[in-house]
């Protein structure tokens, strides 16, 4: 994943982005989530969608990134990312 992040920095860093200020909530899975998701987009995409998605919806989002959007994320890592997103950015349990 280090490799992917390196590639992202080289090819996709627009000069105007101030995204270094965006930090995800700390916890197991935060690093792997940040490293993979930030290949293609800033992490505020996760923040703005925080607080309302149940697990099934986050699962569909991760599947969309790995499927039609072609994110090269292995299944085991995707599960780790999903668990992190559900725990920290999911809908509160009812």
């Amino acid at each position: 994943m280090k490799h992917l992040v390196g590639v992202a920095l080289l090819v996709s860093m627009p000069a105007w982005a101030d995204e270094a200020s965006v930090t995800l909530k700390p916890g197991p899975g935060a690093d792997v989530t940040a490293a993979n998701c930030a290949t293609c987009h800033s992490l505020d995409y996760i923040q703005i969608n925080g607080g309302f998605m149940p697990e099934a919806t986050w699962k569909a989002e991760v599947a969309k990134m790995r499927g039609p959007f072609g994110a090269p994320i292995e299944a085991a890592l995707a599960d780790e990312i999903l668990a992190y997103l559900v725990k920290h950015y999911g809908a509160p349990a009812r």
Partner: protein
């Protein structure tokens, strides 16, 4: 992981940045109708060449116009919203040798144009039109749906100058079997596996006199982040078709199979009947989003404002998908009673129409203000949300609460 951009000024201390961040985050998007995460993370920030806009995401950049801007019919270029799907955006240097190519299996002969070619070969055309993101107001969907959680500012109205797409199509020659005209811009995905952003419109729409390839916005060159040097302008249709940094026009005998046509930007069939059905892109249950629905926005007073009991002005804009605005009514009592607002100058059927109502005689205390518009074709704003999975076309009047004192 460290990322540094030019906005993180050289020499600025981390502490100063944090303080600035806290200040600009306060009260940017406070509407309780937005997701909690959106309200917590949105900030007010200026991109190069832009006034401060509401930042939803840095990369790809998605920034909306503050609602208080919408007191005038024309939205200044520096205030105009920014929306990208893909992270690899060209800079001015990359666009130095820009050219437009037109071709495809349903074009007679492929052609290439420089900007000067377009300006000298075809009649100049102009339209004043609203450019509204399909997802404008997605953030107010009930229940919330995933996506960029736009408030009300993913829109603007500008005077667009360019040439008619139909004239450029005629120069290339359109074959009898042509079905769609597809547009590709110079912005690209970060990884090759991500679908490029390519959008198509039906041939009938492409050949209407309203659709332009525009290089000017409000009399000056398009800002980089609004599509420099050339963008598609499809008045009356949502901005997903208004491809920026346009490089390729593909005249097609077959429907586009691109992800952004077939999987994204879809609405349930028959929920929002369009003026011109996009039949080649319909499937059993869904249709592409096309026509903008009638809508209005209160720009002043601001939510939470203190207004004078002696009288205050309710101001804003109303618009629709191209019939023009017939009337706007304003309520200062939460919708119990309504009064007709006066309408500002008519800049054309695709443009924002400003409205204004002086409100007097309101009791002291909390008051709830609403506005609702009716189009020239008789379409009224919805009373209740027509929920759809992508959160499109939310034109339920949004209440603005103020304190009368």
């Amino acid at each position: 992981m460290k990322r540094r951009g030019v906005l993180r000024g050289v020499g600025a201390s981390v502490a100063a940045l944090s303080a600035a961040k806290a200040a600009r985050a306060a009260g940017v998007l406070t509407d309780a109708g937005l997701p909690e995460g959106t309200r917590a993370s949105a900030t007010l920030e200026a991109l190069p060449g832009k006034n401060k806009l509401v930042k939803l995401t840095y990369r790809p950049p998605n920034y909306e116009t503050p609602v208080s801007v919408f007191r005038t019919a024309i939205t200044a270029n520096a205030d105009f919203f920014v929306r990208y799907h893909l992270g690899d955006i060209p800079d001015m240097a990359a666009l130095k040798d820009w050219k437009l190519s037109i071709g495809g299996d349903a074009a007679e002969k492929p052609l290439t144009f420089t900007l000067n070619d377009l300006k000298s070969r075809f009649p100049i055309a102009e339209v004043t039109s609203v450019c509204q993101c399909s997802g404008n107001r997605r953030g107010f969907s009930e229940p919330h749906v995933p996506g960029v959680q736009w408030g009300s500012g993913a829109m603007g109205n500008a005077r667009w100058t360019g040439v008619r797409l139909k004239d450029v199509l005629a120069a290339a020659g359109v074959k009898a079997g042509a079905l769609e005209v597809a547009f590709d811009g110079a912005d690209k995905p970060v990884i090759q596996a991500t679908p490029d952003f390519i959008k198509s419109i039906p041939l009938a729409m492409a050949q209407s006199a309203d659709v332009l390839l525009a290089w000017n916005m409000n009399g000056v060159a398009l800002p980089l982040l609004n599509g420099f040097p050339l963008r598609v302008v499809v008045p009356g249709w949502t901005a997903t078709y208004w491809v920026k940094h346009l490089t390729t026009i593909d005249v097609r005998s077959k429907p586009s199979e691109n992800f952004w046509m077939q999987k994204a930007y879809r609405v349930p069939k028959n929920m929002f009947p369009p003026e011109l059905a996009f039949l080649t892109q319909e499937d059993a249950n869904t249709a592409p989003i096309t026509d903008i629905v009638v809508n209005s926005l209160i720009a002043a007073p601001a939510p939470g404002a203190r207004v004078a009991q002696g009288g205050f002005d309710v101001q804003g804009v109303a618009w629709d998908g191209g019939s023009g605005i017939k009337s706007v009514e304003v309520s200062a009592d939460g919708g119990k009673t309504w009064k007709a607002a006066s309408l500002g100058q008519d800049l054309g059927r695709f443009a924002f129409r400003t409205f204004n109502l002086r409100v007097t005689g309101t009791a002291a205390g909390e008051a709830t203000i609403l506005a609702r518009a009716v189009s020239q074709r008789g379409e009224a704003q919805a009373d209740t949300l027509k929920f759809n999975p992508a959160g499109y076309h939310n034109n339920v009047p949004r209440a603005v609460s103020v304190t009368v004192a």
